[in-house]
Protein backbone atom coordinates (compact mmCIF):
# COMPACT_ATOMS: atom_id res chain seq x y z
CA UNK A 1 0.00 0.00 0.00
CA UNK A 2 1.23 3.47 -0.88
CA UNK A 3 -0.53 6.30 0.91
CA UNK A 4 -0.23 9.73 -0.72
CA UNK A 5 -3.31 11.43 0.71
CA UNK A 6 -1.79 13.07 3.80
CA UNK A 7 -3.81 16.27 3.34
CA UNK A 8 -7.04 14.30 3.72
CA UNK A 9 -5.81 12.69 6.91
CA UNK A 10 -2.62 11.28 8.37
CA UNK A 11 -1.79 7.90 9.89
CA UNK A 12 -1.85 7.90 13.65
CA UNK A 13 1.47 8.30 15.43
CA UNK A 14 1.96 5.35 17.83
CA UNK A 15 3.18 7.70 20.58
CA UNK A 16 -0.05 9.68 20.27
CA UNK A 17 -2.16 6.53 20.46
CA UNK A 18 -0.18 5.30 23.49
CA UNK A 19 -0.71 8.63 25.24
CA UNK A 20 -4.43 8.51 24.45
CA UNK A 21 -4.76 4.92 25.70
CA UNK A 22 -2.85 5.65 28.88
CA UNK A 23 -5.02 8.68 29.65
CA UNK A 24 -8.20 6.74 28.88
CA UNK A 25 -7.23 3.84 31.12
CA UNK A 26 -5.72 5.73 34.03
CA UNK A 27 -7.20 9.22 34.10
CA UNK A 28 -10.78 8.56 33.15
CA UNK A 29 -12.36 10.99 35.60
CA UNK A 30 -14.68 13.72 34.41
CA UNK A 31 -12.61 16.93 34.37
CA UNK A 32 -15.62 18.72 35.86
CA UNK A 33 -15.66 16.39 38.90
CA UNK A 34 -14.12 17.77 42.06
CA UNK A 35 -12.67 14.47 43.34
CA UNK A 36 -9.05 13.53 42.83
CA UNK A 37 -9.51 11.63 39.54
CA UNK A 38 -11.52 14.52 38.11
CA UNK A 39 -8.87 16.99 39.23
CA UNK A 40 -6.18 14.84 37.57
CA UNK A 41 -8.14 14.90 34.30
CA UNK A 42 -8.54 18.67 34.59
CA UNK A 43 -4.79 19.01 35.21
CA UNK A 44 -4.10 16.87 32.14
CA UNK A 45 -6.12 19.32 30.03
CA UNK A 46 -4.45 22.36 31.61
CA UNK A 47 -0.98 20.92 30.99
CA UNK A 48 -1.93 20.17 27.37
CA UNK A 49 -3.23 23.70 26.92
CA UNK A 50 0.08 25.08 28.21
CA UNK A 51 2.00 22.86 25.78
CA UNK A 52 -0.14 23.93 22.79
CA UNK A 53 0.19 27.60 23.73
CA UNK A 54 3.96 27.25 24.10
CA UNK A 55 4.42 25.45 20.77
CA UNK A 56 2.21 27.88 18.85
CA UNK A 57 3.40 30.98 20.70
CA UNK A 58 -0.23 31.55 21.67
CA UNK A 59 -0.02 32.76 25.26
CA UNK A 60 -2.63 35.47 24.57
CA UNK A 61 -5.19 32.93 23.37
CA UNK A 62 -7.75 30.61 24.88
CA UNK A 63 -7.59 27.08 23.46
CA UNK A 64 -11.18 25.96 22.87
CA UNK A 65 -11.23 22.22 22.25
CA UNK A 66 -13.67 21.00 19.62
CA UNK A 67 -14.51 17.81 17.75
CA UNK A 68 -12.32 18.93 14.86
CA UNK A 69 -11.73 21.69 12.35
CA UNK A 70 -15.30 21.78 11.04
CA UNK A 71 -16.69 22.54 14.49
CA UNK A 72 -13.89 25.04 15.14
CA UNK A 73 -14.70 26.84 11.86
CA UNK A 74 -18.41 26.84 12.75
CA UNK A 75 -17.65 28.37 16.15
CA UNK A 76 -15.21 30.89 14.68
CA UNK A 77 -17.57 32.10 11.95
CA UNK A 78 -21.14 31.51 13.14
CA UNK A 79 -20.25 32.04 16.79
CA UNK A 80 -18.39 35.25 16.01
CA UNK A 81 -21.12 36.52 13.68
CA UNK A 82 -23.86 35.99 16.25
CA UNK A 83 -21.86 37.64 19.02
CA UNK A 84 -21.00 40.67 16.91
CA UNK A 85 -23.99 41.24 14.63
CA UNK A 86 -24.99 44.33 16.61
CA UNK A 87 -21.88 45.97 15.04
CA UNK A 88 -22.45 44.76 11.51
CA UNK A 89 -23.22 41.83 9.25
CA UNK A 90 -20.48 42.08 6.64
CA UNK A 91 -17.87 39.34 6.27
CA UNK A 92 -15.02 39.00 3.76
CA UNK A 93 -13.49 35.69 2.72
CA UNK A 94 -11.44 34.07 -0.03
CA UNK A 95 -12.58 31.81 -2.87
CA UNK A 96 -10.26 29.00 -1.73
CA UNK A 97 -11.85 28.01 1.56
CA UNK A 98 -12.68 24.58 2.90
CA UNK A 99 -16.32 23.57 2.56
CA UNK A 100 -16.78 23.91 6.33
CA UNK A 101 -16.05 27.63 5.98
CA UNK A 102 -18.06 28.03 2.78
CA UNK A 103 -21.07 26.27 4.34
CA UNK A 104 -20.98 28.59 7.37
CA UNK A 105 -20.81 31.62 5.09
CA UNK A 106 -23.70 30.37 2.93
CA UNK A 107 -25.68 29.74 6.12
CA UNK A 108 -25.01 33.28 7.35
CA UNK A 109 -25.90 34.71 3.93
CA UNK A 110 -29.31 33.04 4.27
CA UNK A 111 -29.70 34.79 7.63
CA UNK A 112 -29.08 38.18 6.03
CA UNK A 113 -25.32 38.59 6.43
CA UNK A 114 -23.51 40.06 3.44
CA UNK A 115 -20.51 38.05 2.30
CA UNK A 116 -17.87 39.35 -0.11
CA UNK A 117 -15.44 36.96 -1.75
CA UNK A 118 -12.06 38.42 -2.67
CA UNK A 119 -10.53 38.23 -6.09
CA UNK A 120 -7.08 36.67 -6.46
CA UNK A 121 -4.03 36.79 -8.69
CA UNK A 122 -3.18 33.99 -11.14
CA UNK A 123 -1.70 31.94 -8.29
CA UNK A 124 -4.82 32.18 -6.13
CA UNK A 125 -3.35 34.71 -3.69
CA UNK A 126 -5.98 37.18 -2.47
CA UNK A 127 -6.00 40.77 -3.70
CA UNK A 128 -5.02 42.99 -0.76
CA UNK A 129 -6.03 46.22 -2.51
CA UNK A 130 -9.52 44.81 -2.99
CA UNK A 131 -9.54 43.66 0.65
CA UNK A 132 -8.95 47.21 1.82
CA UNK A 133 -11.56 48.56 -0.61
CA UNK A 134 -14.15 46.09 0.67
CA UNK A 135 -13.73 46.86 4.37
CA UNK A 136 -16.66 48.98 5.58
CA UNK A 137 -17.97 50.28 8.87
CA UNK A 138 -20.18 47.21 9.25
CA UNK A 139 -17.44 44.69 8.37
CA UNK A 140 -16.91 42.44 11.37
CA UNK A 141 -14.78 39.55 10.16
CA UNK A 142 -12.24 38.50 7.55
CA UNK A 143 -11.85 34.72 7.27
CA UNK A 144 -9.07 33.42 5.02
CA UNK A 145 -7.51 29.96 5.11
CA UNK A 146 -3.73 29.98 5.31
CA UNK A 147 -3.42 27.03 2.94
CA UNK A 148 -6.00 25.74 0.48
CA UNK A 149 -6.36 21.98 0.90
CA UNK A 150 -6.74 21.11 -2.76
CA UNK A 151 -4.15 23.26 -4.50
CA UNK A 152 -1.85 24.12 -1.61
CA UNK A 153 -2.22 27.86 -2.26
CA UNK A 154 -0.43 29.71 0.54
CA UNK A 155 -1.90 33.05 1.64
CA UNK A 156 0.31 35.73 3.17
CA UNK A 157 -1.47 36.17 6.50
CA UNK A 158 1.01 38.76 7.71
CA UNK A 159 0.27 40.97 4.70
CA UNK A 160 -3.47 40.46 5.20
CA UNK A 161 -3.09 41.45 8.85
CA UNK A 162 -1.23 44.62 7.79
CA UNK A 163 -4.42 45.69 6.01
CA UNK A 164 -6.87 44.53 8.68
CA UNK A 165 -5.03 46.08 11.61
CA UNK A 166 -5.85 49.56 10.27
CA UNK A 167 -9.49 48.80 11.08
CA UNK A 168 -9.93 47.99 14.76
CA UNK A 169 -13.55 46.88 14.28
CA UNK A 170 -12.52 44.01 11.99
CA UNK A 171 -11.35 40.65 13.35
CA UNK A 172 -9.32 38.03 11.50
CA UNK A 173 -9.94 34.28 11.45
CA UNK A 174 -7.78 31.78 9.62
CA UNK A 175 -8.44 28.11 9.04
CA UNK A 176 -4.90 26.77 9.58
CA UNK A 177 -5.92 23.13 9.33
CA UNK A 178 -3.52 22.50 6.45
CA UNK A 179 -0.80 24.71 7.93
CA UNK A 180 -0.26 23.85 11.60
CA UNK A 181 2.12 20.93 11.81
CA UNK A 182 2.94 21.24 8.09
CA UNK A 183 4.80 24.56 8.07
CA UNK A 184 5.96 27.06 10.65
CA UNK A 185 3.08 29.41 11.46
CA UNK A 186 2.63 32.69 13.27
CA UNK A 187 -0.82 32.49 14.87
CA UNK A 188 -0.40 35.92 16.47
CA UNK A 189 -1.48 37.69 13.28
CA UNK A 190 -4.97 36.23 13.76
CA UNK A 191 -7.73 36.65 16.32
CA UNK A 192 -9.15 33.18 15.73
CA UNK A 193 -7.27 30.12 14.44
CA UNK A 194 -8.62 26.68 13.53
CA UNK A 195 -6.64 23.44 13.56
CA UNK A 196 -7.23 19.72 14.04
CA UNK A 197 -5.43 16.61 15.26
CA UNK A 198 -5.93 14.15 12.45
CA UNK A 199 -3.95 16.23 9.92
CA UNK A 200 -0.91 16.04 12.20
CA UNK A 201 -0.74 12.29 12.90
CA UNK A 202 -3.25 12.63 15.74
CA UNK A 203 -6.62 11.12 16.47
CA UNK A 204 -9.76 11.94 14.52
CA UNK A 205 -12.37 13.71 16.63
CA UNK A 206 -10.37 16.44 18.30
CA UNK A 207 -9.37 19.90 17.18
CA UNK A 208 -9.24 23.39 18.56
CA UNK A 209 -10.06 27.00 18.02
CA UNK A 210 -7.55 29.52 19.34
CA UNK A 211 -9.40 32.60 20.53
CA UNK A 212 -7.65 35.87 21.31
CA UNK A 213 -8.94 36.91 24.71
CA UNK A 214 -10.63 40.09 23.43
CA UNK A 215 -12.78 38.17 20.94
CA UNK A 216 -16.37 37.41 21.88
CA UNK A 217 -18.26 34.38 20.60
CA UNK A 218 -21.64 32.73 21.03
CA UNK A 219 -21.35 28.96 21.55
CA UNK A 220 -22.45 26.70 18.71
CA UNK A 221 -22.79 23.84 21.21
CA UNK A 222 -24.46 24.88 24.43
CA UNK A 223 -24.02 22.78 27.53
CA UNK A 224 -22.92 22.56 31.09
CA UNK A 225 -19.64 23.50 32.65
CA UNK A 226 -16.66 22.81 30.47
CA UNK A 227 -13.10 23.99 29.90
CA UNK A 228 -14.53 26.90 27.91
CA UNK A 229 -17.76 28.88 28.23
CA UNK A 230 -17.81 28.88 24.43
CA UNK A 231 -18.14 25.09 24.05
CA UNK A 232 -20.41 22.90 26.15
CA UNK A 233 -19.95 19.21 26.87
CA UNK A 234 -17.75 17.05 29.07
CA UNK A 235 -14.19 17.81 28.02
CA UNK A 236 -12.64 14.80 26.25
CA UNK A 237 -9.48 14.79 28.38
CA UNK A 238 -7.76 11.81 26.69
CA UNK A 239 -8.45 13.20 23.21
CA UNK A 240 -7.23 16.64 24.28
CA UNK A 241 -4.10 15.06 25.77
CA UNK A 242 -3.54 13.22 22.46
CA UNK A 243 -3.82 16.52 20.57
CA UNK A 244 -1.04 17.96 22.71
CA UNK A 245 1.06 14.87 22.05
CA UNK A 246 0.38 15.11 18.28
CA UNK A 247 1.41 18.75 18.02
CA UNK A 248 4.51 18.11 20.13
CA UNK A 249 5.69 15.16 18.05
CA UNK A 250 4.87 16.68 14.67
CA UNK A 251 7.20 19.60 15.34
CA UNK A 252 10.11 17.38 16.48
CA UNK A 253 12.96 17.35 13.90
CA UNK A 254 10.74 19.71 11.94
CA UNK A 255 13.42 21.23 9.71
CA UNK A 256 14.59 17.77 8.68
CA UNK A 257 11.04 16.64 7.94
CA UNK A 258 10.32 19.81 5.96
CA UNK A 259 13.53 19.46 3.93
CA UNK A 260 12.63 15.86 3.09
CA UNK A 261 9.19 16.92 1.82
CA UNK A 262 10.72 19.74 -0.22
CA UNK A 263 13.13 17.26 -1.85
CA UNK A 264 10.26 14.87 -2.61
CA UNK A 265 8.27 17.71 -4.20
CA UNK A 266 11.15 18.69 -6.48
CA UNK A 267 11.85 15.05 -7.33
CA UNK A 268 8.21 14.52 -8.32
CA UNK A 269 7.72 17.65 -10.36
CA UNK A 270 11.20 18.03 -11.89
CA UNK A 271 12.32 14.46 -12.44
CA UNK A 272 9.25 12.23 -12.63
CA UNK A 273 6.37 14.23 -14.07
CA UNK A 274 8.23 15.59 -17.13
CA UNK A 275 8.27 11.95 -18.35
CA UNK A 276 4.49 12.10 -18.66
CA UNK A 277 3.64 14.35 -21.58
CA UNK A 278 0.01 14.89 -20.55
CA UNK A 279 0.83 15.98 -16.99
CA UNK A 280 0.19 19.57 -15.93
CA UNK A 281 1.02 21.10 -12.56
CA UNK A 282 -1.99 23.17 -11.49
CA UNK A 283 -0.50 25.25 -8.70
CA UNK A 284 3.10 26.38 -8.82
CA UNK A 285 3.34 28.63 -5.81
CA UNK A 286 1.88 26.65 -2.95
CA UNK A 287 3.39 24.51 -0.22
CA UNK A 288 5.49 21.44 -0.94
CA UNK A 289 3.09 19.05 0.79
CA UNK A 290 0.37 19.39 -1.83
CA UNK A 291 0.89 18.62 -5.51
CA UNK A 292 -2.16 19.12 -7.69
CA UNK A 293 -1.67 17.64 -11.15
CA UNK A 294 -3.89 17.15 -14.15
CA UNK A 295 -3.32 14.31 -16.58
CA UNK A 296 -5.04 15.87 -19.53
CA UNK A 297 -7.57 13.58 -21.18
CA UNK A 298 -7.69 11.13 -18.28
CA UNK A 299 -10.64 11.68 -15.95
CA UNK A 300 -9.61 12.14 -12.34
CA UNK A 301 -11.97 9.51 -10.95
CA UNK A 302 -10.79 6.94 -13.52
CA UNK A 303 -7.16 7.54 -12.53
CA UNK A 304 -7.95 7.51 -8.82
CA UNK A 305 -9.83 4.20 -9.05
CA UNK A 306 -7.14 2.55 -11.17
CA UNK A 307 -4.48 3.67 -8.67
CA UNK A 308 -6.62 2.52 -5.74
CA UNK A 309 -6.95 -0.91 -7.43
CA UNK A 310 -3.13 -1.02 -7.39
CA UNK A 311 -3.01 -0.06 -3.70
CA UNK A 312 -1.97 3.57 -4.29
CA UNK A 313 -4.12 6.20 -2.59
CA UNK A 314 -4.42 9.77 -3.80
CA UNK A 315 -7.46 12.02 -3.93
CA UNK A 316 -9.72 13.88 -6.28
CA UNK A 317 -11.57 16.90 -5.04
CA UNK A 318 -15.25 17.28 -5.61
CA UNK A 319 -16.27 20.41 -3.74
CA UNK A 320 -18.83 22.59 -5.50
CA UNK A 321 -19.77 20.25 -8.27
CA UNK A 322 -21.98 17.32 -8.96
CA UNK A 323 -19.52 15.35 -11.05
CA UNK A 324 -16.83 13.47 -9.15
CA UNK A 325 -14.29 14.13 -11.89
CA UNK A 326 -14.65 17.87 -11.97
CA UNK A 327 -12.85 20.24 -9.60
CA UNK A 328 -14.39 23.70 -9.34
CA UNK A 329 -11.31 24.80 -7.39
CA UNK A 330 -8.98 23.91 -10.28
CA UNK A 331 -11.46 25.42 -12.73
CA UNK A 332 -11.47 28.64 -10.70
CA UNK A 333 -7.68 28.89 -10.65
CA UNK A 334 -6.91 27.75 -14.19
CA UNK A 335 -10.13 28.61 -16.02
CA UNK A 336 -9.86 25.27 -17.80
CA UNK A 337 -12.55 22.54 -17.86
CA UNK A 338 -9.97 20.16 -19.28
CA UNK A 339 -7.65 20.62 -16.30
CA UNK A 340 -10.55 20.66 -13.83
CA UNK A 341 -11.90 17.27 -14.86
CA UNK A 342 -8.50 15.56 -14.83
CA UNK A 343 -6.97 16.95 -11.64
CA UNK A 344 -5.77 14.83 -8.75
CA UNK A 345 -4.04 15.74 -5.52
CA UNK A 346 -0.93 13.95 -4.32
CA UNK A 347 -0.13 14.98 -0.76
CA UNK A 348 3.23 14.26 0.78
CA UNK A 349 4.55 13.55 4.27
CA UNK A 350 7.88 13.15 5.98
CA UNK A 351 6.94 9.45 5.93
CA UNK A 352 6.81 9.40 2.10
CA UNK A 353 9.66 7.61 0.34
CA UNK A 354 11.14 8.49 -3.04
CA UNK A 355 10.50 4.90 -4.16
CA UNK A 356 6.77 5.43 -3.50
CA UNK A 357 6.75 8.34 -5.92
CA UNK A 358 8.58 6.16 -8.48
CA UNK A 359 5.85 3.53 -8.11
CA UNK A 360 3.13 6.17 -8.35
CA UNK A 361 4.47 7.58 -11.59
CA UNK A 362 5.07 4.13 -13.10
CA UNK A 363 1.49 3.15 -12.24
CA UNK A 364 0.16 6.38 -13.79
CA UNK A 365 2.12 5.65 -16.98
CA UNK A 366 0.55 2.17 -17.13
CA UNK A 367 -2.95 3.55 -16.54
CA UNK A 368 -2.49 6.21 -19.24
CA UNK A 369 -1.36 3.47 -21.64
CA UNK A 370 -4.37 1.30 -20.74
CA UNK A 371 -6.75 4.20 -21.31
CA UNK A 372 -5.24 5.49 -24.54
Amino acid sequence: MIYLDYSATTPLNKEVLDAFNEANLKIYGNPNSTHKLGILAKELIDETTDIIKAILNASAYEVIYTSGATEANNLAIKGFAEANNHRGKHIISSPYEHSSVTSCLNYLAKLGYEIDILGTDANGVVDLVELEELIREDTILVSIAMINSELGILQDLKAIKEVIKKYSHVSFHSDMTQAIGKINVDVTVCDLVTFTGHKIYGIKGVGALLRKESINLVPVIHGGKSTSVFRGGTPAAPLIYSLGKAITTVYLDFDKKSKHIEELYHYLINELLPDIAISHLNSKSGIYHIVNISFIGLKANVLQKALSDRGIYISTQTACNSDSSFSMTVKRLTGSDELAESSVRVSLSYLTKKSELDELVNAIKEIIHENS
Binding site: T102, N106, M328
Partner: protein, 89 residues
Amino acid sequence: MKIVRITAMWCMSCLSMKKTWKKALKEYPNIDIIDLDFDFNEEEVKKYNVGKTLPELIVFNDGVEIKRIVGEKTLKEMNQILEVLNEKN
Protein backbone atom coordinates in the same frame (compact mmCIF):
# COMPACT_ATOMS: atom_id res chain seq x y z
CA MET B 1 -40.85 33.38 -16.35
CA LYS B 2 -39.66 31.05 -13.63
CA ILE B 3 -36.09 30.24 -12.58
CA VAL B 4 -35.20 27.07 -10.70
CA ARG B 5 -31.98 27.95 -8.89
CA ILE B 6 -29.93 24.95 -7.73
CA THR B 7 -27.20 25.64 -5.19
CA ALA B 8 -25.40 23.90 -2.33
CA MET B 9 -24.23 25.05 1.09
CA TRP B 10 -20.63 23.99 0.38
CA CYS B 11 -20.55 25.72 -3.00
CA MET B 12 -18.21 28.72 -3.15
CA SER B 13 -19.45 29.75 -6.60
CA CYS B 14 -23.03 29.76 -5.25
CA LEU B 15 -21.92 32.00 -2.40
CA SER B 16 -20.01 34.42 -4.59
CA MET B 17 -22.99 34.70 -7.00
CA LYS B 18 -25.50 35.74 -4.31
CA LYS B 19 -24.84 39.47 -4.59
CA THR B 20 -24.83 39.35 -8.40
CA TRP B 21 -28.18 37.56 -8.49
CA LYS B 22 -29.68 40.00 -6.04
CA LYS B 23 -28.60 43.00 -8.13
CA ALA B 24 -29.53 41.50 -11.50
CA LEU B 25 -32.91 40.07 -10.49
CA LYS B 26 -33.99 43.29 -8.79
CA GLU B 27 -34.95 44.58 -12.22
CA TYR B 28 -37.26 41.61 -12.83
CA PRO B 29 -39.65 41.34 -9.88
CA ASN B 30 -42.08 39.22 -11.90
CA ILE B 31 -39.62 36.34 -12.33
CA ASP B 32 -40.47 33.55 -9.88
CA ILE B 33 -37.41 32.09 -8.20
CA ILE B 34 -37.58 28.56 -6.87
CA ASP B 35 -34.55 27.65 -4.77
CA LEU B 36 -33.46 24.04 -4.51
CA ASP B 37 -30.55 22.75 -2.45
CA PHE B 38 -28.41 20.14 -4.20
CA ASP B 39 -28.26 17.97 -1.06
CA PHE B 40 -31.40 18.77 0.89
CA ASN B 41 -33.72 18.58 -2.16
CA GLU B 42 -31.91 15.66 -3.76
CA GLU B 43 -34.95 13.94 -5.31
CA GLU B 44 -36.30 17.17 -6.81
CA VAL B 45 -32.85 18.16 -8.13
CA LYS B 46 -32.45 14.77 -9.86
CA LYS B 47 -35.32 15.68 -12.20
CA TYR B 48 -33.28 18.52 -13.67
CA ASN B 49 -30.21 16.56 -14.82
CA VAL B 50 -27.75 18.98 -13.26
CA GLY B 51 -24.35 19.07 -14.99
CA LYS B 52 -20.79 19.33 -13.75
CA THR B 53 -20.97 22.68 -12.06
CA LEU B 54 -23.05 24.53 -9.52
CA PRO B 55 -24.83 26.88 -9.31
CA GLU B 56 -27.25 26.02 -12.08
CA LEU B 57 -30.18 28.27 -12.98
CA ILE B 58 -32.85 26.69 -15.17
CA VAL B 59 -35.12 29.21 -16.85
CA PHE B 60 -38.69 28.27 -17.79
CA ASN B 61 -41.30 30.14 -19.78
CA ASP B 62 -44.86 28.79 -19.72
CA GLY B 63 -43.50 25.56 -18.27
CA VAL B 64 -40.97 25.06 -21.07
CA GLU B 65 -37.24 25.11 -20.32
CA ILE B 66 -35.63 27.87 -22.38
CA LYS B 67 -32.13 28.32 -20.89
CA ARG B 68 -29.59 27.10 -18.37
CA ILE B 69 -27.21 29.52 -16.66
CA VAL B 70 -24.34 27.51 -15.20
CA GLY B 71 -21.51 28.53 -12.88
CA GLU B 72 -20.29 32.00 -12.04
CA LYS B 73 -21.23 34.99 -14.19
CA THR B 74 -20.35 38.64 -13.87
CA LEU B 75 -23.12 41.14 -13.20
CA LYS B 76 -22.76 42.34 -16.78
CA GLU B 77 -23.18 38.80 -18.12
CA MET B 78 -26.20 38.15 -15.90
CA ASN B 79 -27.82 41.42 -16.97
CA GLN B 80 -27.24 40.59 -20.64
CA ILE B 81 -28.70 37.09 -20.27
CA LEU B 82 -31.77 38.37 -18.42
CA GLU B 83 -32.29 41.20 -20.91
CA VAL B 84 -32.29 38.81 -23.86
CA LEU B 85 -34.62 36.39 -22.07
CA ASN B 86 -36.97 39.18 -21.10
CA GLU B 87 -37.13 40.56 -24.66
CA LYS B 88 -37.83 37.15 -26.18
CA ASN B 89 -40.42 36.08 -23.64
